[in-house]
């Protein structure tokens, strides 16, 4: 009883916080679950509401009502605008839309700071509520109790609309099969707009009412987005009740958890999330559970089980061949061309060679500051390549590669601190640490597909960030690490201090890492990944342990990110949590998108462009780095649907599989790289007006025959 008494206030606070998160997360879940838009600018919509509310609140009921109306309307309009912005991208899948919203979030955040200033705005609640009430012997702010009531009403109303009305039925039908909704005379486009506007209104209303709880400030959008993403991941998209309980749980962790166990609180979210991910993958996705583990004979995967049975009966069937259903006559050509570099191979390698020459010549061309930037760009480039491997090849779009990146970075910094300053040792140990980390979190990542991966990896990245902030003895907490000894390039050398030295070291490491990556991607292993991404069910049916491939890819990509982290620490000689934060993860993904999702060189160029934009161009317009990057994001998504790599092979909209570095990577008969135009999560839930109409079309038509007949 005493325990309850002591923690009553934080517990009630947790309910208020949780309900706030529920209203926000319900909008996010609605937009994603039914309109297919993973809205990474959802936090910005909340911030719009919060700023408007704070600006209009003057301590009267009228001020609150006016703020509520204006904030809700503003966020509602922004949501409708978001619908108009994402609708043209609907055919290009969820990822393109998610990226667009991220770009818009960057722009919106910058504009809000422009408009309302960089300080947190004070929020006044109506005077009638600006008092305390007696709650079982404790004084408790009346506003929060009132907020709890309003949030419950809002949640109940939303639930009623969604589950009991014809409009709600149309929304759920649109999530299920927009074409058939259209065939019953309802415009899916109108539903799409309505859903996003409603989601915006929810976020805006939550922002106005919740401003006294999560106030408007520069970090608001990100905090709100992250917490509501955690809620959505925990609650799943299937039921509002699950979202509700997840939201209250997160709210309690953030308030009651902090008051009961301040050291453990940051991990509680992680623990809850890990538990949910593991539980859900075991019970809700049984078809994939077996593939992740080694044993093929006993897992619940029917194909694996069947294979195990067959393997026991039939006389020694060979290991599944790497060739993916390729007619035997075609077998020789790709093998031949990969051994003897033909003209195509040279043409393909040419940009890489040109880039290498430029990179080698760079120290002679640039000043010291720019050289150090170039070194950072190489590190970010490697990180981007690891994202490419996952996004473009394995079909796992990730926002969480900063996690293994951070592991590598902190490993190197700590190694250096302990006196292990030899470069190759740092690199290898960092890669191993990052790979081990990737192996641990991998099973949670590889079970999901498409945008769900985006959410899970985002959560992993964020929670790694929380751990970084918490484990002060290893990471230095928010202060970061400085003053560790410089890395020595080789045994017996001196510590590198000169920018050009560091750059050359970074270049050598990057070249080796890129060469290794290219070698692996162009080997049969790369083809297995391509096949998995393109036609997973077919790969499974052909007897490939798909889960294992993806796990190996995830571990390798993690190692590569670890190398990138190590390199970054060596080049900049300090390490702060911001270097491994969400922004960097988003930049890496942007670099990949700019480059074209399957292009290694594109990822490097994209990283270079981003570093140049952030540190160079923005230098002449200080404080507007996010705005520029946001514009870059948006422009890339619209103008370069296949990234820079798309320019090379016929430009955007040039049809066919241009994102792929030509014939040696994918066997004929496997679908080509989708660029960001493809939905790695498969065609379900796509709002393209003819996605299902393509049923009669073969899923993959090799490029040369594209122009001719379609039916085989």
């Amino acid at each position: 009883m005493e325990l309850l008494d002591a923690h009553l206030v934080p517990a009630v606070d947790g309910v208020a916080f949780g309900l706030l998160l529920f209203v926000v997360a319900a909008g996010l879940s609605l937009a994603f679950g039914t309109a297919g838009v993973l809205n990474l600018s959802h936090g910005t919509l909340y911030a719009i509401g919060a700023y408007t509310g704070a600006e209009l609140s003057d301590g009267t009921w009228g001020g609150l009502a006016l703020g509520l109306a204006a904030g809700t309307a503003a966020a509602c309009v922004a949501g409708a605008g978001l619908s108009a912005a994402t609708a043209p991208l609907a055919r290009r899948g969820h990822l393109a839309q998610a990226l667009l919203t991220f770009g818009l979030a960057l722009i919106g955040g910058d504009l809000l700071i422009q408009f309302f200033g960089a300080d947190e705005l004070p929020v006044r609640v109506p005077e009638a509520l600006d008092s305390s009430v007696n709650l079982l012997g404790h004084r408790y702010p009346a506003y929060r109790l009132c907020f709890i009531v309003m949030a419950v009403l809002l949640a109940a109303f939303g639930t009623w609309v969604l589950t009991r009305t014809r409009m709600g039925a149309a929304v759920r039908a649109a999530a299920d099969d927009p074409q058939m909704l259209a065939a019953t005379g309802h415009s899916p486009r109108a539903v799409h707009t309505g859903v996003l506007a409603a989601a915006g209104a929810l976020a805006g209303a939550a922002g106005v009412l919740g401003a006294p709880i999560i106030g408007p400030g520069p970090g608001t959008s990100e905090t709100v987005l992250m917490l509501s993403l955690v809620v959505v991941v925990l609650g799943g998209l299937r039921s509002l009740w699950a979202t509700f309980f997840a939201a209250v749980a997160v709210g309690e962790v953030q308030t009651l958890g902090v008051s009961v166990a301040p050291e453990l609180a940051p991990y509680l979210l992680f623990a809850a999330m890990a538990a949910v991910l593991v539980l859900r993958s075991r019970f809700a996705e049984p078809t994939e559970a077996g593939a992740g583990h080694g044993s093929e004979g006993s897992g619940p995967d029917p194909v694996a089980r069947l294979r195990g049975l067959l393997a026991g009966r039939l006389p020694g069937p060979k290991r599944p061949s790497v060739r993916l259903g390729r007619p035997p006559g075609h077998d020789r050509a790709p093998a031949w061309s990969s051994r003897l570099p033909g003209r195509a191979a040279w043409w393909q390698a040419a940009p890489l060679l040109v880039l290498l020459v430029v990179l080698i010549a760079l120290p002679a061309l640039l000043d010291a500051y720019s050289i150090s930037l170039a070194g950072s760009a190489l590190a970010l480039g490697l990180l981007a390549i690891s994202v490419t491997v996952l996004t473009g090849y394995a079909g796992l779009p990730t926002l969480g590669q900063t996690a293994p990146f951070a592991v590598g970075a902190y490993a190197t910094a700590n190694l250096a601190d302990a006196g292990w300053t030899v470069g190759p040792v740092q690199i290898v140990l960092s890669a191993l640490a990052a790979a081990a980390f990737a192996a641990v979190v991998g099973p949670a990542v590889i079970r999901a597909r498409g945008t769900t991966v985006l959410m899970i990896t985002l959560a992993i990245g964020e929670l790694t960030g929380a751990v970084v902030n918490q484990l002060k003895s290893v990471t230095g907490g928010a202060d970061g690490l400085v003053g560790f000894p410089a890395t020595r390039a080789l045994w017996g050398g001196e510590g590198m201090l000169e920018e050009s030295e560091l750059y050359n070291y970074a270049l050598v490491v990057a070249v080796v890492a890129v060469a290794l990556t290219l070698l692996v991607l162009h080997s049969p292993a790369g083809k297995l990944l391509t096949g998995t991404r393109g036609a997973e069910a077919r790969m499974r049916a052909s007897g490939h342990p798909v889960g294992r491939y993806l796990l190996v890819a995830h571990v390798c990509a993690g190692a590569l990110a670890g190398v990138a982290g190590s390199l970054m620490v060596t080049v900049q000689q300090y390490l702060s949590p911001a270097d491994v934060g969400f922004e960097i993860a988003a930049f890496a993904l942007l670099a990949v998108v700019i480059g074209g999702t399957t292009s290694v060189i594109g990822a490097l160029l994209g990283a270079g462009l981003i570093v140049a934009t952030r540190d160079w161009v923005a230098g002449s317009w200080p404080g507007h780095g996010p705005l520029l990057l946001g514009v870059l994001f948006v422009a890339t998504v619209y103008v370069l649907p296949r990234g820079l790599a798309g320019l090379r092979s016929g430009g955007p909209g040039g049809g066919g599989e241009s994102g792929r570095p030509s014939g040696t990577t994918g066997a004929p008969g496997t679908p080509g790289a989708p660029g960001i135009s493809g939905d790695p999560g498969g065609p379900r839930g796509s709002h393209g007006s003819d996605s299902a109409a393509a049923e009669e079309q073969p899923p993959s038509v090799p490029a040369p025959t594209r122009a001719g007949k379609v039916s085989p």
């Binding site: 759920r172 058939m180 019953t184 009669e696 079309q697 038509v701």
Partner: protein, 242 residues
């Protein structure tokens, strides 16, 4: 009355349907027969507005609806029963009926008959027993009934049936065939797409054989019922891959 003239459609890179002319007068069944890949579903999707034709026109009682978005075409009076039923997984039968119920606008008297959920349940009583069940909890036959109910509740003038008996037991096939005849007798123009020449001949006043997206043969139902040789010949001679 549904009229197609020179309808041409395809997917990026290839044309599937080549200049098809076809008309379905009100109160009749027109069957389109063809093998897999002949372009049957493409035809249905193009009429329903799920795909845009690259050439040709679709007219509904003389009104050009070519290239309009699917929901407009549906409102104009074209009901679609798609291949594979495609009922909404998350909606109950009741919600399906409520969502699809769209009474014709006042003054729109060209509808052969006006459907309400009650009337649909009279025609398809089985659905009445499953009103609380979700779409995917239904059996294949019930899903087909639900897909038909969904199309009827828009009180269409034209009904597009894309392989409505696919995967159903013979007794259900006969039931569906009877329903098709009943509905046509009410004044609906029915376009029935089927891989089965027997079903087509049994229901239709006119048959069109589609091969590789082109009309290979057109004959009347009586001709087909009297002597199926020509029909079979048209289907088998040009069978792709045969």
């Amino acid at each position: 009355m549904l009229e197609l003239t020179g309808l041409t459609a395809g997917y990026h890179g290839g044309t599937v349907l080549h200049g098809l002319d076809l008309s379905v007068p009100a109160g009749t069944v027109h069957a389109v027969v063809g093998h897999n890949g002949a372009g049957k579903t493409t035809l249905v999707h193009t009429i329903a507005g799920l795909m845009r034709p690259s050439a040709g026109t679709v007219r509904l009682d003389g009104r050009d609806v070519t290239g309009q978005p699917a929901h407009r075409i549906a409102r104009a009076g074209i009901g679609l029963v798609p291949q594979g039923r495609r009922v909404f997984a998350g909606l109950t039968v009741d919600e399906h009926l409520r969502l699809s119920h769209r009474p014709p606008r006042r003054g729109d008297t060209a509808r052969p008959s006006v459907w309400t959920p009650a009337r649909v349940l009279e025609l398809l009583p089985r659905l009445g027993e499953r009103r609380g069940n979700r779409g995917t909890d239904l059996s294949g036959g019930e899903q087909q009934m639900l897909a038909l109910a969904r199309a009827l509740l828009g009180s269409p003038r034209v009904l597009l049936l894309d392989e409505p008996t696919e995967g159903l037991a013979p007794v259900l096939v006969r039931q569906i065939d009877a329903l098709v005849t009943t509905l046509a007798a009410e004044g609906l123009a029915v376009l029935l797409v089927s891989p089965s020449p027997a079903q087509a001949a049994a229901c239709a006043r006119t048959l069109t054989v589609l091969t590789s997206g082109r009309m290979a043969l057109r004959l009347s139902g009586e001709e087909a019922r009297a002597d199926a040789t020509a029909l079979h010949a048209a289907l088998e001679l040009t069978a792709p891959g045969a």
